[in-house]
């Protein structure tokens, strides 16, 4: 059999951050207490009307811009009609005719290589209520009902679970960079529908497309894709490819397999039509210009900037750009004139270690880039040693005082050349035997002299200057 190439498309749903829900005034907030964030509209009480949350629209447009999509001339919404107990209105307000963006294109990094991804569309819609099923009863929690949901649909442009995962992680970072979502899979904020088919290596004709709905973790997406590729390939190998049905399936986490839900012939007709209660909103150029100003430089661009223009390693640059606030911190260090590699080392080791240990965020860190610079300047000026700097680093953070407060006169490094010369002269004078042996070829006695200087100065002699003077004195 010819080699099979998997073809995968993703529909990624991500809950957006906002004060209130996308069409009602209830709080958009995760809560353990059921049905505490509910407005009349969320229960579809007769006569209630949707009112669009402007922030959600703007956030959706920002994502659309970040994905280089073509924006609509007008924003409008559509109804997707179906009956389900988690959908009180009997329809979901979504976007069909004019999504927030279409035909987007972005690059992602997969195993160190760049790959182009085509975006079909991005649209804004509302989430449904959550259902809990018990032995003989089910409960409905309307807290999630009406939470803003951004759905991103890709073209079938992935060829492996690895690529799909890289894309989802990339998007998660973008949502965080744009500050439009916490994109937290643990809270169910990201859910995916996965489309998988296989084709012959030398053919462009796609095989039968299988859709797996509502996969709610990134690991689940990987497992789903791998399972489907294996299932479909096996059937093809066995000459039973006609058993691969164009169906809708779900991922069963426990059984670790996909399970048939419905066939294409049973596909639901959602009877889409324009939502009459929301007037069309014109997308003015000035509005888009304002939104563009709020979009920061994204992580991949920053990463390649750090690698190509500041000589950082792919690994270090990757760590720095993972979180926008850390990348911003790094860039502030650069703007203060700190050496990129030195700043990167401090951030990726000392600072991130501290943040992890203390479970705090860089924005709350007392050691601002300015204070980090103070500290590094003192090393460069030879006032303190690297070892001392690390101690002072913790003191600054613990006591929340300026760096200079921790530099005691007696602790200062001795870099004064004259002072060191007089000490070294004295040691050379007191060690005629060692000097003679050194000149006779025992050059490793050099360290003896350095050791004597350190002993004499209680370790405060600047080692670089000390070595320079000793070499000069002994070799002349």
């Amino acid at each position: 059999m010819k080699k099979q190439i998997p073809v995968i498309g993703l529909e990624m749903h991500c809950e957006l951050k906002s004060n209130s829900k996308v069409f009602s005034r209830a709080k958009n907030e995760y809560s353990e207490l059921p049905n505490c964030n509910v407005a009349p509209l969320d229960l579809a009480l007769p006569g209630t009307l949707p009112v669009v949350n402007k922030k959600c629209v703007e956030d959706a447009l920002k994502v659309s811009l970040a994905l280089n999509c073509t924006l609509p001339d007008y924003i409008c919404f559509d109804r997707k009609n179906y009956y389900y107990p988690d959908l009180p209105k009997g329809y979901q307000i979504t976007q069909m005719e004019k999504p927030m963006g279409v035909n987007g294109k972005i690059q992602i990094e997969v195993d160190g290589k760049l790959k182009d991804i085509d975006i079909h569309d991005v649209h804004l819609e509302e989430d449904a209520a959550s259902l809990d099923h018990y032995f003989d009863t089910s409960t409905i929690d309307y807290n999630r009902c009406g939470v803003p949901l951004l759905e991103l649909v890709t073209e079938p442009c992935f060829n492996s679970a690895r690529e799909a995962l890289a894309f989802l992680e990339h998007m998660r970072d973008i949502y965080k960079y744009l500050d439009v979502s916490d994109a937290d899979t643990k809270k169910g904020q990201i859910r995916c529908d996965v489309n998988v088919s296989i084709r012959d290596e030398d053919s462009d004709i796609l095989g039968t497309r299988v859709e797996v709905k509502n996969v709610n973790s990134l690991a689940g997406v990987v497992d789903t894709i791998n399972y489907e590729i294996a299932r479909q390939t096996k059937l093809k190998e066995e000459g039973r490819y006609n058993e691969v049905e164009q169906d809708t399936r779900r991922w069963d986490e426990e059984a670790q397999k996909t399970i048939h839900m419905r066939s294409k012939v049973d596909a639901i007709d959602y009877k889409y039509f324009g939502e009459p209660n929301i007037p069309m909103i014109r997308v003015k150029d000035s509005w888009i210009e304002d939104l563009k100003k709020e979009i920061p430089r994204l992580h991949l661009e920053r990463k390649y900037d750090y690698i190509n223009n500041y000589g950082l390693s792919n690994y270090d640059a990757g760590i720095l750009v993972k979180e926008k606030k850390i990348a911003d911190y790094f860039e502030e260090c650069l703007s203060l004139g700190l050496d990129a590699k030195v700043a990167s080392n401090w951030i990726t080791t000392q600072i991130m270690g501290y943040l992890n240990k203390e479970e705090t965020e860089i924005k709350d860190l007392y050691l601002t880039p300015k204070r980090l610079k103070d500290l590094i300047d003192l090393i460069n000026e030879g006032v303190i040693s690297s070892k001392q700097a690390k101690e002072i680093f913790f003191q600054v953070l613990d006591e929340k005082k300026e760096v200079r407060e921790f530099i005691k006169e007696e602790d200062k490094q001795i870099s004064d050349k004259e002072k060191l010369e007089s000490i070294i002269d004295m040691i050379i004078k007191d060690s005629p035997k060692q000097v003679e042996e050194y000149h006779n070829g025992r050059t490793n006695l050099f360290d003896y002299f350095v050791g004597q200087v350190m002993k004499n100065t209680k370790g405060k002699a600047n080692p670089v200057v000390t070595k320079e003077i000793i070499k000069e004195k002994l070799d002349n």
């Binding site: 009480l45 009956y83 039509f273 009459p276 209660n277």
Partner: protein, 485 residues
């Protein structure tokens, strides 16, 4: 007897302390019970209604009625449907709240064709609403109870809603004023939806001035309704000066010419004669009224366009009625069976028929042929009207094909010949145009009406035209006088 008076008179009487708010309520409640007994106009009579302080607001201290498809907090709101026969809302519709905030007193909730989906007043879950001019006749609908109560003198005004002609036709059949303002002048928040793009809030009164006063008190941009708009610089009552000299109106030849109806009965003939007589009367005030021809094919399409669009939206709008969160819950184990039970038992056959039509129209394979084409025809007729409104200040038309229909012959059956005559008020809903019906005469001692419709946002102009015409006739403030048939 006070409840047969207009708002301004009542306000003056209250101010002068010649009558109290409490006495008005007592009279309105007594009258409600009497009318309920005779004509079956109400869903709920609010015996607990309390007097309010009389302030500078004309409507303060004065009772009014509310169609039962408005959400009223703590008060049963059924939409005259069994699907909501136990529904007590947690919030009050914006327009109702605006009236209450100004000191108006709600004394009852009025019956309607189930969820407004009917034009007869005979499909309420509480039974048929009878016409106060003749018990053998219908009020038309869907604001049947409101029209009946205002005509019978229960109070000076009641709220209605209008998706096709649901305020303006019952007004004509009951010999009163029915006004549906420009789409969005009144908030729809809290109005149970039938077809959102066609639904309008509005009012039934016995004079144009009262209609203006009530809408002034209800209007305003509502943050709960995105289709509402700021009308702070619009003052309806204050703008009524009756000066209409030189204003231009038109009527549609294909609807108003008696020669279009070869099989016309006596009532229709008299109705159209009376219409043309009314036009002549209006011309004496210097109003120019011309006959305009509109493509008959487009006019003929109107009723179908209305059915398609309204049924499609209604199917979706009423998908929330499942009995899961509110309304009587179906007694079944499985949730989908519960929903089916609720809807099967709750809705009348007429509504179910409309749902089937709406569902069919919205099916993927039918959308282009029916739904999209209906939207195109809607756009077409609205564009024709807007073009005409460049030259004319308004459209003036007879309402329906005569006085109120007999109950026995009256259901939703459309007489092929007079269908455009019966349905043309829908143009006002297609375009969201301000539109008002006032009484313009009698046939066999039963009232008939005339309608004026203008361009969007021209509410002041439309009301002023109606106000001027009203002042030329003797029907202002009339109370129904029952005839024996």
């Amino acid at each position: 007897m006070y409840m047969d008076k207009d708002l301004t008179s009542l306000h003056e009487l209250l101010k002068a302390k010649k009558v109290t708010s409490k006495e008005l309520i007592k009279e309105a409640l007594e009258k409600s019970k009497e009318i309920q007994e005779k004509y079956n106009a109400f869903v709920t009579i609010l015996d607990e209604a309390k007097e309010t302080e009389v302030n500078e607001e004309i409507i303060s201290g004065i009772p009014f009625g509310v169609k039962d498809n408005y959400s009223t907090k703590g008060i049963l709101s059924t939409g005259s449907s069994n699907t909501l026969n136990n529904y007590i809302p947690v919030y009050t519709a914006t327009v109702v709240q605006n009236l209450l905030d100004k000191g108006a007193i709600m004394v009852n909730k009025t019956a309607l064709d189930e969820f407004g989906m009917g034009g007869t007043g005979t499909t309420c879950n509480t039974g048929v609403v009878k016409n106060p001019w003749s018990k053998k006749r219908m009020c038309a609908g869907s604001s049947a109870g409101s029209a009946c109560a205002v005509a019978a003198g229960v109070y000076p005004y009641a709220l209605g809603s209008d998706t096709g002609d649901s305020i303006r036709k019952p007004a004509a059949y009951c010999g009163i004023v029915g006004y549906k303002p420009t789409y969005g002048l009144l908030s729809r928040y809290g109005l149970f939806p039938f077809a959102s793009s066609l639904d309008h809030a509005g009012v039934l009164t016995r004079s144009v001035l009262d209609a203006a006063i009530v809408v002034d008190a209800m209007k305003g941009k509502d943050e709960h309704d995105m289709t509402s708009w700021d009308s702070n610089n619009m003052h309806l009552a204050a703008s009524l000066d009756g000066k209409v000299n030189g204003k231009k109106l038109f009527y549609i030849k294909e609807v108003c010419d008696i020669n279009n109806y070869p099989k016309a009965n006596r009532e229709l003939k008299e109705h159209l004669e009376n219409f043309h007589k009314t036009l002549d009367l209006f011309r004496t005030k210097g109003v120019i009224i011309n006959e305009v021809s509109i493509d008959k094919d487009i006019l003929r399409a109107l009723p179908s366009v209305y059915v398609i669009l309204s049924c499609a939206e209604a199917t979706s709008n009423m998908s929330n009625l499942t009995g899961i969160i509110f309304g009587p819950r179906g007694d079944k184990k499985n949730v989908f069976e519960m929903m089916r039970e609720h809807r099967t038992k709750g809705f009348s056959p007429l509504i179910k028929r409309r749902f089937v039509i709406g569902s069919y129209i919205l099916q993927k394979e039918n959308q282009e042929r029916y739904f999209k084409n209906a939207q195109r025809v809607r756009r077409l007729i609205v564009d024709i009207m807007k073009d005409l409104f460049k030259e004319y200040d308004g459209l003036i038309m007879p309402v329906a094909s005569g006085p109120a229909k007999m109950l026995e012959q009256g259901d939703d059956v459309i007489d092929e010949n007079t269908s455009i005559l019966e349905e043309h008020l829908q143009i006002g809903n297609f375009g969201g145009f301000p539109s008002i019906t006032i009484p313009d005469g009698f046939i066999d001692n039963l009232p008939v009406g005339i309608n004026i419709t203008g361009n969007c946002f021209q509410d002041e102009l439309v009301l002023n035209l109606a106000y001027a015409l009203e002042s030329l006739m003797d029907y202002k403030g009339q109370i129904a006088k029952e005839v024996e048939e």
